[in-house]
C-alpha cells in the first residue's frame, strides 16, 4: 500500500463515521457536501470530517482509495457507504438510519 492509502485507511478507521468533504460542516464549500452534512445532522450522529480542499494528497487519493470519482464520501466503521446521492436515497428509504443503528454508531450530543 502506498503512504496515502495507509493514511486514508487510518483516517477511515479512526472514527465511527467519517465524511470527506469540501469545506467544513459549518462552512461547506459545495452543495453536495452541504447536503451530506445536513443528512448526518438529521440522523443525529457524531462524525468526523476531512476537508479535502486543505490536502491535495487526500483529495486525489480518496478517489482511488474508494474507486469513487466524487466528493463527498461517507465511511461508517471503515466501510465506504457512498456519496451524497446515495446518502439521500438511503436516508429517504430509512436505510441510512438502520445502518447507523446496526453499526452502533455514537449519537451526537
Amino acid at each position: 500500500m502506498s503512504d496515502v492509502n495507509e493514511r486514508l485507511s487510518s483516517i477511515v478507521n479512526g472514527s465511527d463515521v467519517v465524511l470527506f468533504m469540501k469545506g467544513t460542516p459549518l462552512f461547506p464549500q459545495c452543495g453536495f457536501s452541504n447536503k451530506a452534512v445536513a443528512i448526518l445532522d438529521h440522523c443525529g450522529v457524531a462524525f468526523d470530517s476531512v476537508d479535502v480542499l486543505q490536502d491535495m494528497e487526500v483529495r486525489q487519493g480518496i478517489k482511488a482509495f474508494s474507486d469513487w470519482p466524487t466528493i463527498p464520501q461517507l465511511y461508517v466503521k471503515g466501510e465506504f457507504v457512498g456519496g451524497s446521492d446515495i446518502m439521500m436515497e438511503m436516508y429517504e428509504a430509512g436505510e441510512l438510519q438502520t445502518l447507523l443503528d446496526e453499526k452502533q454508531v455514537a449519537k451526537s450530543s
Binding site: F32, D67, W68, P69, T70, F80, G82, E89
Partner: protein
C-alpha cells in the same frame, strides 16, 4: 465546462443499452444535472455498484468536466 444533457444520456445508453435516462436541469447552466437512470443491469446490485456502472459509462468525466450530476438509479418495475 459542462456537458449537454443529450451527451450525458448518449454515453449512458451506449454502456447500458436498455436504460431509460431522465435528465433534469438543476440550474439552467448546462452544468448542473439530475439524472434518473432505470436499467435491468442494476438488478441485484447494491447502490454503490449501480452508481459505479453509470460513472463508468461516463468514462472518467464524472468529478472532472462533469461536476454536478445528481444521480438516482432504479430497476424497471
Amino acid at each position: 465546462m459542462g456537458m449537454a444533457a443529450s451527451e450525458i444520456e448518449a454515453l449512458i445508453v451506449a454502456a447500458l443499452p436498455d436504460a431509460t435516462v431522465e435528465m433534469t436541469a438543476l440550474v439552467d447552466d448546462n452544468n448542473h444535472w439530475r439524472a434518473h437512470v432505470v436499467s435491468a443491469a442494476f438488478a441485484g446490485k447494491p447502490r454503490v455498484a449501480q452508481h459505479k456502472l453509470v460513472y463508468e459509462a461516463l468514462g472518467g468525466r464524472m468529478g472532472g468536466v462533469l461536476h454536478a450530476l445528481q444521480l438516482t438509479t432504479a430497476v424497471p418495475s
